[in-house]
Amino acid sequence: MAEKMALAKAINESLRRALETDPKVLVMGEDVGKLGGVFRVTDGLQKDFGEERVIDTPLAESGIVGTAIGLALRGYRPVVEIQFDGFVFPAYDQIVTQLAKMHARSLGKVKMPVVIRIPYGGGIGAVEHHSESPEALFAHVAGLKVVSPSNSSDAYWMMQQAIQSDDPVIYFEPKRRYWDKGEVDPELIPGPLHRASVVREGTDLTLAAYGPMVKLCRQVADAAAEEGKSLEVLDLRSVSPLDFDTIQTSVEKTRRLVVVHEAPVFLGSGAEIAARITERCFYHLEAPVLRVGGYHAPYPPARLEDEYLPGLDRVLDAVDRALAY
């Protein structure tokens, strides 16, 4: 029975379903209990599943991830919340040197079914450290999988799949889309977690994005359509692995690619997409792959974020530049 719900609610429902169906699933993090998280994503879960399953932790991210690793070794499947993007770094060591490597280090003997939820990105007028997009810092690290849904249905299903995965998954939640509503069909049979999807077909140029930027790219495609340009929009959904096959197929058709993300362009995921797609589609590309993203600067104060973040005009500008080749 499909139901319309906000993206945050879809994650909430997905966590609820996981807690219901698998007694090994745990939810843990700062303020995930009574408060239900600062974005209410875990709202009501502690009330219904108790403090043993939905755990308010001490204020220490390394400790949260480190103990989640231990719980996973004991057979649990922890879903960890990091309160904001900028607060994941105290846990970075545990994520990079332990969580990511445990399976390989043990020659496959132990599994690390840990999901790390990170509300990320800007556009909500927040103070420092609350608007960042650090996904490249995780995608570069082997052993991690990195995903980001753009809509309620994906949020729901990708969370189910992330929890079911025996690999650690960094699940980036597009916080500025938390309140966007979309259909969620709990009976759906979802496609593979790491498969990109073509959310709009087009012929002149491909726009590739994930998470919060997918909605923007749809708007860009609408605007471009009014000018008679046909843009194809890809929702990449996964940053590690990247679904290069889907991008390649699209680019072989459109011959032009613009990648959009909020993260800084320099060494952002767009760099890898540009490099690899150029290699794969060297004779197809009519223009270099262009990238629109954040600048090489700390995320600015809220009153400047609209200048910093990719917006309709900046993406259209890149589209024009790509089409001008």
Partner: protein, 396 residues
């Protein structure tokens, strides 16, 4: 203390209540006493009665009525500033505000204990300490308005920028203090942090470094009972001031709603630092009367009874009662303060509303001190892009 029953404190299996009872205090074993809350260093009761304290009275022995009124004034104006900021957030002038309501005594007492050449490392809630350091309160609002990420020169008042990543600043304070010691200066450093922050590895590491290098730093923990929605029991099962002992330096719990006690204890701790006796942990036992920030809704996780109970210990009423009963302040003083308070509110309101948005090119400023080719390139691209609109408009 908190209304939340905490499953984490219950031993999970059979031995409820046994925890820590095995110890005998022998020298090979460190043991833990639990169950009873320790006494606080208190110089003023909640009713405003001055009580004696053999150890700490000396640190406020010479205090004059003028100074007492000064502390009162500081607290009143800080609270007023804070209320104004909360209101400005409601009006949309600020994106967020982290209120210090209830923590005025902890902040004014400790802040007034610092000397001009001391250095302060705050969290994001130390508006009262900033006040004591002479930072213009309107400067504090820039980051909450979203026009900057820290709007004052830390070296202007030896008051570092607000630090949002919990616990980080305790290491900066320790390093700074190591530098003070290297310089042979006799100033001291004070690092603020919260009860929640006590769990962060960085705070523990700052204890280790400061102890090993005997750095002149005071760790001032405002235990306001809550870290957003989590009561202190989620961070520790023994009083926080005891943490210091295992690192080899003293810890004290002070009544954080008693400005006189906070002043005395912080003076003592700073003096230790100046005298080369190294770090001290002060736990100011206080209460966050309001929400965590204006984004927070405390009704979801705590009963109002708790706040009401703490209202009886209000730091401002307490000092007022003492000032009045001891005839250290008259009606005129309070009336004058009231209008000063009004004026401050007005000044803050006007200053905030007048605060301009930053220039868009500020994004590219100060990323590096010595420049960076990529920033230059992106700035140029940005300029060209902006110019293209101007051109387009010009053309129309």
């Amino acid at each position: 203390m908190t209304v939340e029953s905490s499953a984490a404190r219950k031993p999970r299996r059979s031995a409820a209540g046994k925890t820590g009872t095995a110890g005998t205090g022998r020298s090979t074993r460190s043991t833990v006493k639990q169950g009873t809350e320790p006494e606080l260093v208190q110089l003023l009761t909640p009713e405003g009665k001055r009580v004696k304290n053999a150890e700490f009275d000396a640190y406020v022995a010479g205090i004059t009525p003028d100074e007492l009124r000064g502390l009162y004034r500081d607290m009143v104006l800080t609270r007023r500033f804070d209320a104004e900021a909360t209101a400005l957030q409601r009006q949309g002038e600020l994106g967020l505000w982290a209120s210090l309501l209830g923590q005025e005594a902890a902040q004014i007492g400790s802040g007034r204990a610092t000397r001009e050449d001391d250095y302060v490392f705050p969290t994001y809630r130390e508006h009262g300490v900033a006040w004591c350091r002479g930072v213009d309160p309107t400067n504090l609002l820039g980051m909450f308005r979203g026009v900057n990420n820290g709007g004052w020169d830390p070296n202007g008042n030896n008051f570092h920028l607000y630090t949002i990543v919990i616990g980080s600043q305790t290491l900066h304070a320790t390093g700074y203090a190591m530098g003070v010691a290297k310089d042979g200066a006799d100033s001291a450093v004070i690092a603020y942090f919260g009860d929640g922050a006590s769990s962060q590895g960085d705070v523990a590491e700052s204890f280790t470094f400061s102890a090993v290098y005997n750095a002149p730093v005071v760790f001032f923990c405002q235990n306001n009972q809550w870290a957003i929605s989590e009561p202190t029991e989620k961070q520790t099962r023994v009083p926080l001031y005891q943490r210091a002992q295992g690192y080899g330096f003293p810890g004290v719990r002070v009544d954080g709603n008693d400005v006189l006690a906070c002043l005395a204890v912080t003076r003592w701790a700073l003096e230790r630092a100046r005298n080369g006796e190294g770090p001290t942990l002060v736990e100011a036992f206080t209460y966050r009367m309001g929400a965590h920030t204006t984004s927070d809704d405390p009704t979801r996780y705590r009963h109002d009874d708790e706040r009401v109970a703490w209202e009886a210990k209000d730091p401002i009423l307490r000092l007022r009662a003492y000032l009045e009963s001891s005839n250290h302040a008259d009606e005129g003083f309070f009336a004058e303060l009231e209008s000063e308070s009004e004026a401050l509110g007005k000044r803050v309101r006007e200053a905030v509303r007048a605060m301009p948005d930053p220039d868009r090119f500020a994004i590219f400023e100060n990323v590096y001190a010595d420049g960076h080719a990529l920033v230059d390139e992106e700035r140029a691209q940005f300029a060209a892009y902006q110019a293209s609109f101007a051109d387009a408009q010009g053309g129309n």
